[in-house]
């Protein structure tokens, strides 16, 4: 895997609705691979990889007219400045699903120029015991950019500016620690996959605004009208010790997770069987994601137009939607191997009725 590319993707600011920095990295990486590269009005990036030409003197391409969408979302969860206080501190709202408890004392970068700040909290010397036992509400937190009063702050940031976690990616050997692997990990997978040519047209779609309601994918799938779709994600892992014999959604290091059902979609059973058969034939480790909550762009893609057979492959990711999440390099590599092999083995008959 290209760790440096994932590092650039992970560290790029790209909260929902503000995916420009990620879009630029993606477009640059695709320059040599895409047969056609374009963006739509909402900001989704499409990279078309034409099907392999038929062999000399051979029959025409059996996949003609068969078009597969492979999607990963560019946006990450983050914050947006809602107001500047008299003291120069910034109040904010979450963009996407964030547990306020993970925010306390986190360094952040605010706005297009990346103004450094911290989500401040009273020092331990000044808090009473009871206070420390209570979870904080997001409305009571402020970003402190070190500005002396409202005017000083207003010269550097404004209402509506986004803020992201200031997390640098760390290579821990077998694992990687960083922000926004959901879904820059999926973006990195997709970039890797688009280096290949497949027997049919594959359109990689880097979507926007997944974290605020699967919004980019909806219009992308309508425009593309694919015959099948794969969604690449970094998904929930809760494999840390539990008190009882209960369900981890996925386990880190146990291979890519194939979704059967989540809150937004029942995966197409034919594509699920195709992925499982591919993994078994190729000797790629995999796991079935326990059918629990959570959703992906697949939730919109599979309902586009007359419906699109859709499957989801995810890299297990600990501490999703926090400033520091953790993935396994082997899961990443096996996820890429699985989807690459599944695409090479896919035929229109797999999803024919």
């Amino acid at each position: 895997m290209d760790v440096n590319l994932l590092r650039r993707l992970s560290e790029a600011p790209g909260v929902s609705g503000n995916e420009g920095a990620v879009r630029r990295i993606v477009a640059e990486a695709l320059r040599d691979h895409a047969d056609r590269l374009w963006a739509d009005t909402i900001g989704n990036v499409f990279a078309l990889r034409r099907g392999a030409a038929p062999p000399e003197g051979g029959v025409s391409d059996p996949g003609a007219g068969f078009r597969v969408m492979v999607a990963a979302h560019m946006d990450e969860v983050g914050l947006m400045v809602t107001d500047i206080g008299d003291d120069g501190s910034l109040s904010f709202e979450a963009v996407g699903g964030i547990d306020a408890r993970v925010l306390v004392s986190q360094p952040v970068r605010v706005g297009g120029s990346g103004v450094p700040g911290v989500i401040g909290v009273k020092p331990v010397h000044l808090t009473a015991g009871g206070e420390r036992e209570q979870a904080v509400a997001i409305g009571s937190l402020r970003i402190d950019i070190g500005a002396d009063g409202r005017d000083a702050a207003a010269r550097r940031v404004k209402r509506g500016d986004y803020a992201v976690f200031a997390t640098e990616m760390l290579d821990l050997g077998p694992t990687l620690l960083g922000k926004a692997f959901d879904d820059r990990g999926g973006c990195a997978m997709l970039l890797d996959l688009l280096a290949d040519r497949y027997p049919f047209d594959v359109c990689g779609v880097f979507t926007v605004q997944e974290e605020v309601g699967l919004r980019g994918a909806r219009v992308a799938a309508h425009a593309l009208a694919p015959q099948a779709a794969f969604v690449l994600e970094c998904g929930i892992t809760d494999d840390t010790p539990k008190k009882r014999d209960d369900t981890p959604v996925t386990r880190l290091g146990h291979g890519p997770a194939i979704t059967v059902m989540d809150s937004t979609m029942i995966a197409d059973p034919r594509l699920v069987r195709h992925l499982v058969a591919t993994a078994e034939a190729e000797g790629i480790p995999y796991q079935l994601r326990a059918p629990k909550g959570g959703g992906t762009d697949g939730g919109r893609i599979h309902l586009a137009r007359e419906g699109v057979p859709t499957a989801v492959v995810s890299i297990p990711c600990r501490y999703l939607h926090t400033p520091a999440s953790l993935i396994s390099k082997s899961d990443f590599e096996n996820a890429v191997r699985l989807v690459r092999a599944a695409l090479h083995r896919l035929t229109p008959e797999v999803v024919a009725r």
Partner: protein
């Protein structure tokens, strides 16, 4: 009609696993429709041409969903007990002791952990499925396998009791309507949809494909006629219910009026339905493409979403007669001047 209800009720089909129901419907409609197709999500779309094959005939879509609520395995524990998540609106208060059936016929019973306060409904994560396993190695079920309430039909006082009237009774109404209907002024699409119970997901793509001029969803609704029931002006045996509104849609006034008018003309007893929660495929169809005039016709059912749902045969028969009357004539007030 009794055989039809029995046959459809015995097909296994939790949301996402509608293939067996689809096969049954196709067999029941053999020779009664002009063509059939299955779309990408698994919706079955059958078509009955207008008289003389008139190309400009208005297109009417009737939708009934094939799927039923169920459960899905999330974990097999060390002893072979299965933890599960809901598929659709499972009511946990009714689950302890309920039998569920997997696709391969394996039957399990839902058990519960010990609970400190048994007066409250159990939480889902306190429940598990026991498939009678002696050890984990003997359990065939794996993560992602779905199960439905165990099937079977009892007839009490002439009324059928099944775990899945929602919505096999709608499928039965739709099949019987298509069987009885002679070619008329309208082109009729019978759509047997998938995945209604987990968010009316099949209906929108199927409506996009059909692009109808008018649609009616066929589903069950609750009643207010049992002891100390939540007030609702729908009673079992008083005729099919023409929907005015539910939790997800307001019925198109023209469609509703057309249903009421045809019922009156044909002397069919009907009721008006206002459902405070829940919705049907009609919600998704109504907002397909540029919008579709859509109504819904409901079969009153007691104990919806439990393993024992009761309907009245007279309501079912009334629904079929009303739909045939609507489809056999022009769609006044909905599609005019065509």
């Amino acid at each position: 009609m009794k055989d039809l209800i029995q046959t459809l009720a015995e097909a296994w089909g939790p949301s996402g696993h509608e293939a067996a129901v689809r096969e049954v419907v196709l067999r029941l409609l053999e020779g009664h429709v002009d063509d059939t197709r299955v779309d990408a999500l698994g919706n079955l779309v059958v078509r009955k041409a207008a008289a003389g094959g008139a190309a400009a005939a208005p297109k009417v879509m009737l939708a009934a969903h094939m799927d039923e609520i169920g459960v899905i395995v999330t974990h097999v524990d060390a002893e072979g007990f299965l933890r599960f998540a809901p598929v659709g609106g499972i009511l946990t208060g009714n689950l302890i002791g309920t039998r569920v059936a997997f696709e391969d016929g394996t039957v399990g019973v839902i058990g519960s952990e010990k609970r400190d306060d048994a007066s409250k409904a159990p939480k889902l994560d306190e429940l598990f499925i026991d498939v009678g396993a002696r050890e984990r190695a003997g359990v065939r079920q794996k993560v992602g396998d779905a199960a439905a309430f165990r099937h079977g039909v009892d007839w009490s006082n002439g009324r059928p009791i099944t775990p899945n009237h929602d919505d096999r009774i709608g499928c039965a109404v739709l099949v019987e309507t298509l069987r009885r209907l002679a070619p008329g002024p309208n082109e009729v699409f019978g759509v047997f949809t998938v995945q209604e119970e987990i968010g009316v997901r099949g209906a929108a793509p199927s409506a996009f494909g059909v692009a109808p001029d008018m649609a009616v969803a066929l589903d069950v609704t609750g009643t207010g006629d049992t002891p100390e029931a939540r007030p609702m002006a729908v009673r079992l045996g008083h005729g099919p219910a023409i929907k005015v509104k539910d939790g997800g849609m307001i019925a198109h006034r023209g469609v509703r009026a057309l249903l009421e008018r045809r019922a009156e003309q044909a002397g069919i007893a009907v009721q008006l339905e206002v459902l405070t929660g829940g919705t049907t495929d009609a919600m998704a169809i109504q907002t397909s493409r540029a919008g579709v005039p859509t109504g819904a016709l409901s079969i009153p059912s007691r104990y919806v979403h439990t393993p024992s749902q009761i309907v009245d045969l007279g309501d079912v028969e009334g629904a079929v007669r009303l739909l045939v009357a609507v489809l056999a004539q022009p769609l006044e007030g909905v599609v005019d001047g065509r």
